[in-house]
């Protein structure tokens, strides 16, 4: 592999980050993807598009989100100075809406009249249903039957917002199957439908486009840290399912070599158990859902079922740019188990009065391991990308109590 002199230039014209990414879709979708790429490039070049997006981000989403110094957590861990990027304070309670707002404005520019999306934990589904309601577009959300069961509050929220939630009963009935079903819908409704993919995966231009819409997280963090501490952070930590919150935080820092970057995958019951969602650690390169990336799969190339206590991380793949950052070594990818995430969840709830979602609880689990090994002047930023209200039933069950 060429040693790049910048980590921020990708993807290339064919949508590749090194060997990852690409456009592995059925011919029916290919013209639609080319049209989307063209429309997105035109929007990027149009200052009025960014201005419109910024306005909605400020007044509807509630950006910038705070960069919060977690004083008691820092004291408790006795090492690095820990900051949290509070994207859980966004409207709808997670980072997902940053991307949804960008994509729905693009859909409007393209004259699309119908919105579809896949969802795992339901955060992306809720964010999509929210922007669809805001702009008066009909919206269909595909969600695996298993996820519908464990994320009931979000299913109800989507329905309240006017979206139709379609239960997906094929395959493992989780996020990957929801994505298959959304692709089947798109291939059938080619004229009027815009597919809002929720993570930095899928065929080009989605991984780059979603990253760009989420990069607001990292860009704000740079400015806020400069204002607070007069310098850049020393390390960044974020959880990874598909990897959109992580890519949003990481990307603006990729060319700052002194910033150490950690992505935390879901180790489920433990990497050695086989029941996990750590595609980089436990998978190998393959092709699924429009891109080449690391996948959990068997010897025959059949996609394996992922496991995580967090529905949002329960996906057997990862965004292609993460795959490339893994191979180049720019980002260090680690993992945290269900149990570690649960412990982290409880710690933050009690020390800081914040219920984190189970997804960023994985990032927090790594902060808990890492921070005590570092000096007090080490500035660490963790992306607190979602709030935990949606997870209380899952957590109650894991803790052996009933609500």
């Amino acid at each position: 592999m060429n040693n790049p002199n910048t980590f921020r230039a990708g993807p290339d014209e064919t949508g590749h980050f090194g060997m990852y990414g690409g456009r592995f879709v059925a011919e029916t979708l290919m013209p639609l993807i080319l049209e989307l790429e063209e429309a997105y490039e035109a929007a990027q070049a149009d200052p009025s598009f960014q201005a419109e997006l910024d306005d909605y981000l400020a007044h509807y989403v509630g950006r910038p989100s705070p960069l919060y110094f977690a004083e008691r957590l820092t004291e408790h861990l006795g090492g690095a100075k820990i900051y949290m990027k509070r994207d859980e304070l966004n409207h709808t309670g997670a980072h997902k809406i940053n991307n949804c707002m960008g994509q729905i404005l693009l859909a409007r520019r393209m004259g699309k009249r119908r919105i579809i999306a896949e969802t795992g934990a339901g955060q992306h589904g809720v964010a999509t249903a929210t922007v669809a309601a805001r702009f008066g577009l009909p919206c269909v959300i595909y969600m695996g039957e298993t996820d519908i069961e464990r994320q009931k509050p979000n299913v109800f929220r989507m329905r309240l917002l006017g979206a139709e939630v379609r239960s997906v009963t094929s395959g493992s009935r989780t996020l990957k199957d929801a994505m298959n079903e959304a692709l089947r819908d798109w291939v059938t409704n080619v004229d009027d439908t815009f597919y809002i993919i929720g993570t930095v995966a899928g065929p080009h231009p989605y991984p780059a486009m979603v990253r760009d819409f989420q990069a607001v997280i990292g860009n704000e963090t740079r400015e806020q840290m400069q204002a607070r501490e007069g310098r850049l952070p020393d390390s960044l930590v974020a959880c990874i399912g598909g990897g959109s919150n992580a890519m949003g935080l990481f990307h603006p820092f990729l060319d700052d070599p002194d910033v150490a970057i950690y992505g935390v995958e879901a180790a489920g019951h433990g990497l050695e158990s086989g029941a996990h969602a750590a595609s980089l650690t436990g998978g190998r390169p393959g092709v699924l859902h429009g891109n080449r990336t690391y996948l959990l799969q068997d010897d025959d190339g059949q996609i394996a079922e992922a496991h995580s206590i967090s529905a949002g991380l329960d996906y057997p793949g990862i965004g292609p740019e993460h795959a490339w950052l893994h191979d180049t070594g720019r980002v260090t990818y680690v993992s945290a188990t269900d149990k570690e995430a649960l412990e982290a969840f409880q710690l933050l709830s009690r020390l800081e009065g914040i219920l984190p979602a189970l997804e960023p609880s994985h990032a927090l689990a790594h902060v808990i391991k890492l921070a005590p090994t570092l000096p007090g002047d080490h500035l660490m930023v963790m992306n607190l990308c979602g709030r935990g209200d949606k997870d209380i039933f899952t957590i109650a069950e894991a803790l052996g109590t009933t609500i």
Partner: protein
């Protein structure tokens, strides 16, 4: 380059003045032995070309019938290696009927492209249809497959406009597979008038034979397509027929019965001289 079985078969069909019937079944559905027996029965029942699905956990372009058949096959232990075994066994008794493997790229990528092409050619595979490899990804498999002497059959769809068509036709060989509807396999029936008009347009760009598939379920529909296309492709209807059998044996019999009906429809389609697409 020497002719492939696919090219020979389409030349023979042309000489006979009729369209062909392409039948799709999923390899290893519901199990290896039944699948092997089924394959052997297809040519006698009237299949001119055999399209065999390579099972995959995530068949994104397929409807419920073929999704279910993929899962049945995988559950009974189907792998890409076993699929090639089926082809090899079939070839021992039939050296003429072309076999096209259809599926998704990941199992092939996992097998290793060069190793797979080598094994496929040795087993007696004639062509490949890989749904998630558009022309933009030709370097992955299409170019190596052509180099290995296999046909690479591409899909053209209702969204493939005049501007894009040449790109789709480049590096397509054996035949062009026209997907009659924007959608997944087994969905709504195509409007044969619209499809005929589209095929006429496409013929201005290529001399390749054109097969038409997606949504064809009955002998009448197959006949309507066979009046202007070089082949009618039937998949979901066969797979469903098979799955609905009370036993594997009953399913097999029902499937081969439907193949015979479809073959009759296709073979009789152009005896009505008004409809011969001879221009």
């Amino acid at each position: 380059m020497s002719e492939t079985r696919i090219e020979r078969r389409f030349a023979a069909l042309k000489a006979e003045g009729r369209a062909g019937l392409v039948t799709f079944v999923t390899a290893g559905d519901p199990d290896h032995a039944t699948s092997a027996a089924l394959l052997k029965g297809l040519p006698a029942a009237g299949a001119d070309l055999i399209e065999m699905g390579m099972p995959f956990t995530d068949p994104m372009a397929d409807g419920p019938a073929i999704q279910a058949s993929n899962l049945r096959a995988l559950k009974s232990g189907a792998t890409l290696r076993r699929t090639l075994d089926l082809v090899r066994d079939f070839r021992a008794g039939d050296d003429d009927t072309p076999i096209v493997l259809m599926g998704y790229f990941n199992p092939i990528y996992s097998y290793g492209v060069e190793a797979f092409l080598d094994a496929a050619r040795t087993a007696g595979v004639d062509g490949l249809i890989v749904v998630d490899l558009p022309p933009e990804e030709d370097n992955e498999l299409c170019i190596p497959a052509l180099r290995a002497g296999l046909n690479f059959i591409r899909l053209a769809t209702p969204t493939t406009d005049e501007k894009r068509l040449p790109r789709v036709l480049t590096n397509t060989s054996g035949f062009l597979y026209y997907v009659s509807i924007a959608g997944i396999t087994g969905a709504a029936a195509p409007d044969s008038g619209k499809v005929a008009a589209r095929i006429a347009e496409i013929r201005r760009h290529t001399d390749l034979p054109i097969g038409v598939g997606f949504g064809i379920r009955s002998a009448e529909q197959a006949a309507a397509i066979a009046r202007f296309a070089d082949a009618a492709v039937v998949g979901s209807a066969l797979v469903e027929k098979f799955a609905n059998g009370a036993t594997a044996e009953a399913g097999l019999k029902a499937l081969l019965g439907l193949v015979a009906e479809l073959a009759d429809g296709v073979r009789g389609a152009r005896t009505d001289k008004r409809a011969v697409a001879g221009e």
